[in-house]
Symmetry: C2
Subunit: 350 residues, 2 copies
């Protein structure tokens, strides 16, 4: 297969971990005879510094012309604490999601047996956890109208949803549940929000065409509790943009390491794959960041193009690395392995 | 001291746990020579069933005329899964908060040593946790304009904040931090939301008049992670309504039992005290619900009126009950103690 992949490595540790994902994909290409070509483009704080725009036209064009985007991480503290900053790296990411129509963010969360002692949760709570979050990614309060009055004293954000925005992701989530444990949990705040009531109505309706899937509902505050009390109860969680942001980040730490979690953002025509961790500026350039999440996002890319065997090869290599403790210091403080060395091991193993 | 207290026991287990709080306050009244009078009023699903209104005028009048409100719990499953229901118990609670001007919800979260084995978190994570959440309670997306178009296909909720709504709670939070560990963490999503940027601007400004308090900022998704990874890092958390709902419920389970957590909602002229747990309809009338959260909310009421010694007496009695395992079955599955018996023990001990 020929695949053109846009590489948006971004800020902080983004470039160094993405490099290992590329290395891994190249190894796959060699072994399985695929032709992956990579095209770099700037994004985030790096892009602001270079062009004044967190998502330059040229970068967007590269993404629109390639088959998939491999994304690193963005964000820089120099933009965070300045409420008056006109341009922010995050705007680039939001615009990218919107422009590529990536309306669904998929985030699998799994308790790796080798990492259970790293989990903040007790073993009996986390054992066996295997869930996937379907987060709506191009609607809701993130993209609704924002206002600030002239005096700078009153601000507002609008959360808006249309039925079709809910329908398209709901179908994906029901289908995912069908291929898994056949349970779908809608997380909302239908006792307070109008948008949540629309979600509940539309999802209930769609559920009628998936009679084999058990559908249940959880208020977001309760979901935040259940994720800690008993993550095992979940199979597929479906939720709107902002709740998905919070719940999926909460879920991401229960397994013991966010350095292992990848995500896919998909739409009708485009797709993007990225580690869920941030740009971790403190570690930038030190060759200590864990590249596994980025490497596993490359595996999600392969799965998206139905290259299941190839994706499996990456998973096997990663599991081998974990087993042999060829890991960075976040997973094993006494480890001597760098970002590059972990990437080398995984690519060689393939 | 003379105190007129409105009792809004509400739904589910609300009445039976509130009864124990009243019993406890009566014991305090006897020992310390105070005159507490209680006035019952209906609220929630119970009020809908009786009057068609989750917060009847008469109930509101009682609350406005008394010195404080003791609240049980509201909510009934028959209203939850009906997106078209015109009246919901929760509306009563929201209207009550708004009408009494209860703009600050205060929720202390503490790891009780005797309960650490009940916590879903490992001991080294939860040990020593002692934080308080200041949640804005009468603004934001809960109270913003709600819309649904005629076809029922597009819904929206508006999140709005004015500087003065932020200022008044911020002052309370800074003062609380001053009496504690001198650290304040603002939780927001300033990289995306206009309202969050206003929060950050206003709170930063107010922080200048509290130079002894360390102020830091956390995005809500990160806060949801940190609450599990290292709750010990927090002293006072300040946040807007919806984030506060989610983060405080998440925080409420890390200590091992939500059956022990109380909250206060305060404004200029009124105050309300309630357990943080819900109405738990499955346990209704069985005399098995844990009354301690409700009893501790009575202690918060006393503190609010500066009856510190009296509040301390309740805390001591509760700690004795925990120590002697005079607790309901949620805390000790082999326990023979009912809701009433736990209440009796605590009242007698006082
Ligand atoms: C950077 C930010 C805009 C983004 C989000 O909240 O969507 C991030 O937190 C994420 O979850 O991908
Ligand atoms: C019942 C509901 C409206 C309420 C809220 O979200 O404020 C509850 O969850 C709470 O936190 O007190």
């Amino acid at each position: 297969m020929d695949l053109n992949i846009a590489v948006l490595a971004g800020d902080g540790i983004g470039p160094e971990v993405t490099q290992q994902a590329i290395k891994t994909l190249n190894a796959i290409g060699e072994v399985y005879n695929h032709n992956f070509t990579f095209k770099d483009a700037v994004v985030g704080a790096a892009a602001i510094d270079q062009t004044g725009d967190p998502l330059p036209e040229k970068t967007l064009k590269v993404c629109l012309e390639t088959d998939a985007v491999l994304f690193g991480a963005i964000g820089d503290p120099k933009y965070d604490n300045d409420p008056s900053a006109k341009v922010r790296p995050e705007q680039g990411l939001l615009k990218l999601r919107k422009s590529l129509g990536l309306f669904t963010n998929i985030r699998p969360i799994k308790a790796y047996p080798t990492l259970i002692d790293k989990s903040p949760l007790k073993e009996d709570r986390i054992n066996g956890t295997d869930l996937t979050i379907y987060r709506e990614l191009t609607g809701g309060i993130y993209f609704g109208e924002k206002k600030l009055n002239e005096e700078g004293t009153v601000a507002s954000d609008l959360c808006e949803y249309s039925d079709f925005e809910i329908e398209r992701i709901a179908h994906l989530a029901f289908k995912a549940a069908r291929a898994r444990k056949k349970k779908l949990t809608l997380v909302d705040k239908a006792n307070v929000l109008e948008t949540s009531r629309l979600w509940r109505k539309v999802v209930t309706k769609i559920g009628e065409s998936y009679p084999d899937i058990t559908l249940d509902f959880l208020f977001v505050d309760n979901a935040a509790m259940q994720m800690i009390l008993n993550p095992n109860q979940f199979d597929v969680i479906l939720t709107e943009n902002m709740f998905g942001d919070i719940i999926s980040d909460e879920g991401s730490v229960i397994g013991g390491s966010i350095g292992l979690l990848a995500s896919a953002s998909v739409g009708e025509d485009h797709s993007m794959f990225e580690p869920i961790h941030g740009s971790f500026p403190q570690a930038k350039g030190k060759d200590i960041a864990n590249p596994i999440a980025s490497i596993l996002s490359a595996a999600m890319l392969l799965e998206h193009f139905k290259l299941y065997e190839e994706a499996k090869a990456i998973h096997n290599a990663v599991e081998k690395a974990l087993e042999l403790k060829v890991v960075t210091t976040d997973l094993d403080p006494s480890s001597k392995y760098t970002t590059t060395k972990v990437g080398d091991f995984i690519a060689d193993y393939i």
